[in-house]
Symmetry: C2
Subunit: 356 residues, 2 copies
């Protein structure tokens, strides 16, 4: 069975069990199946892995590939037992992983940052456009067969324009969180005529006005400036929520923030549902504090049905968390998840480590 | 009544009648009402002007402001009579105007180009993103309350990514028609990683490889190149239809063209419905010749209901011709339409003349 290289010396050794919580399909699974030193246990269905199946099969496993839905908590770690040495999540978020518990046990954890930056930046721009252009309402009109009865009038379905069109006009985009995805979103908006960028970062991070000025120069815009949450709300034509989730950032977008926004402003959330108080946002839209919103993530998802205040709100476009859902990106995420896992099992540095 | 300036000398003269086919609202109408030498006759409802009302009221008019829906044909011109000297359409399209007949009568015609370039470029980018990211299907899933039952899987709802993400990757965007809106759309796509641009123009226009090379350099992309329709189809990752409507360009996008496109390609039409054979496009989507489509215009609109093949097709996003529907753009179009009319009546050059 030995075939040299990394797998030398496996003769007679018990294979390492690897549990894979989602079928990564024909382009990716062979990366695992080709490793004869591994016993691959794959959740057989094309839907979320059931917890009892996972807790049963994780017993004695050396590694696991999982996604955001699967909690890596004490229950999981105790079910796995002491053999577990590598956890690989196919996600950039990691709030499903109890980092204290895995660290205690010396387990390595990998995740998939960076590779989804472009896909999420694309959808952020798309949602800003869709919200400003009333796409939720206009698609609904067409789908309900009401276009024939709709008569064109000069200002029907008009929304605020994302692009500047008049000379000397300005457009300010704001970012709550200013990491890779925010910067990729900003760069895409430059040819739309964005002139100013304001952003808020975690209070513990150090301001870096030199880097901000450098970025503004690179992008050929007038300003990139770190501001308070109040200024972020009051100055932005579009606010992009692109900060991490979790308890610390929960409901940073609340009634107070939304009340300070411009009436013509757009809110876009492509980060985590928990950052936005859904009831406050629905109220803001209903009462016209802001123009419209586009969200790819909602607190409590996927338990978001037609009775949810944001789904019911015509001025809110709601997508089912498809921010990274491009063929290219998901292949890259799956490949990186496998590479993280194999490196962790082989005692090598993971290409994208979260906990080493 | 005389108040000097342009309007000097109107004392005792019969007022010029001006018919306005859509209420241009409180920001624009005063530009007309303030002219005491004019009798303004306004269609009183916030919907399409009825033809009998128009034919009745146009009698003896000196000028008219109208939109795409109102045909300026022999019937209209005969109803108006010899007083008519200025027609102002609040549109960039002018297929509703019989240019031979108005020229014969020495009537000046103005339209509203340029001012809608940015709004239409924005929606062109938006539709490319929406089509590639399966937004029609995913919004529908949320609106039908199916998100809770949908279980995440690695490749669910994945589409081809508009942005390049891997090093050395290329992306080719194609344009059928390469005027202002096409160029504005192209410039917006550069930071998404577009590397090549191909386009087709009317056969009678002169190729200009020097201008193409200059544009490629300005945008910092590898190539801008005029190609045949066959090459446009086969090389483009996204084809944007941005040519004029009318008989000459009818069904340029047909089965033959669609069959030559890439399986992963997107078709976007934000120009005129007549350019695309709807049945052929529906077939191309159903049979997976191409990935998806986004259209803001449909042949035969607004008579496009749920039974229309494109509305029924899950891979097609259909919007009800809202390409120029931003507050900024429609105000600019309405302002320009009024300025064209007044210049025409005053015997001055129209700011945006179609027929002088």
């Amino acid at each position: 069975m030995s075939h040299g290289g990394d797998n030398a010396g496996v003769v007679g050794r018990k294979k390492d069990k690897v549990v894979v919580c989602r079928d990564l399909k024909e382009k990716i699974m062979p990366l695992l199946y080709s490793r004869e030193d591994l016993e691959v246990v794959l959740w057989p269905e094309d839907r979320a892995c059931e917890r009892p199946w996972l807790l049963e099969n994780i017993k004695g496993a050396a590694g696991v590939i999982l996604v955001l839905g699967e909690k890596v908590n004490t229950e999981f770690l105790e079910a796995a037992g002491p053999n577990l040495r590598a956890v690989s999540t196919m996600s950039v978020g990691h709030e499903h992983i109890d980092k204290v518990e895995v660290t205690k046990r010396g387990i390595k954890v990998g995740y998939t940052p960076d590779v989804l930056t472009d896909a999420v930046a694309d959808i952020s721009v798309m949602l800003a456009l869709m919200a400003s252009r009333n796409v939720g309402e206009t698609i609904d009109l067409v789908n309900r067969g009401l276009w024939p009865a709709f008569s064109w009038s000069p200002f029907a379905f008009c929304g605020p324009q994302l692009s500047t069109s008049t000379p000397n006009a300005t457009r300010t985009v704001g970012f709550l969180g200013f990491g890779r995805i925010a910067k990729a979103t900003l760069s895409r908006l430059v040819p739309f005529g964005v002139t100013h960028c304001v952003y808020s970062s975690r209070p513990t991070s150090k301001p870096d006005p030199v880097a901000d000025a450098k970025l503004a120069k690179e992008l050929n815009i007038q300003e990139v400036r770190r501001v308070s949450m109040d200024e972020l709300a009051s100055q932005s034509d579009v606010v992009f929520v692109l900060a991490p989730g979790g308890a610390e950032t929960r409901h940073l977008i609340n009634e107070d923030f939304l009340k300070k926004m411009k009436e013509s402003a757009i809110l876009v959330n492509t980060a985590r549902g928990t950052l936005v108080d859904s009831d406050a946002l629905a109220k803001a839209l209903r009462e016209r504090w802001i123009w419209a919103a586009g969200v790819d993530v909602v607190e409590g998802e996927p338990n978001v049905d037609q009775t949810h205040p944001l789904v019911k709100e015509p001025k809110c476009v709601v997508l089912p968390h498809i921010g990274s859902a491009t063929i290219e990106t998901r292949l890259a995420m799956a490949t990186l998840a496998v590479k993280n896992l194999l490196a962790g099992l082989d005692g090598k540095p993971m290409p994208a480590p979260l906990i080493t």
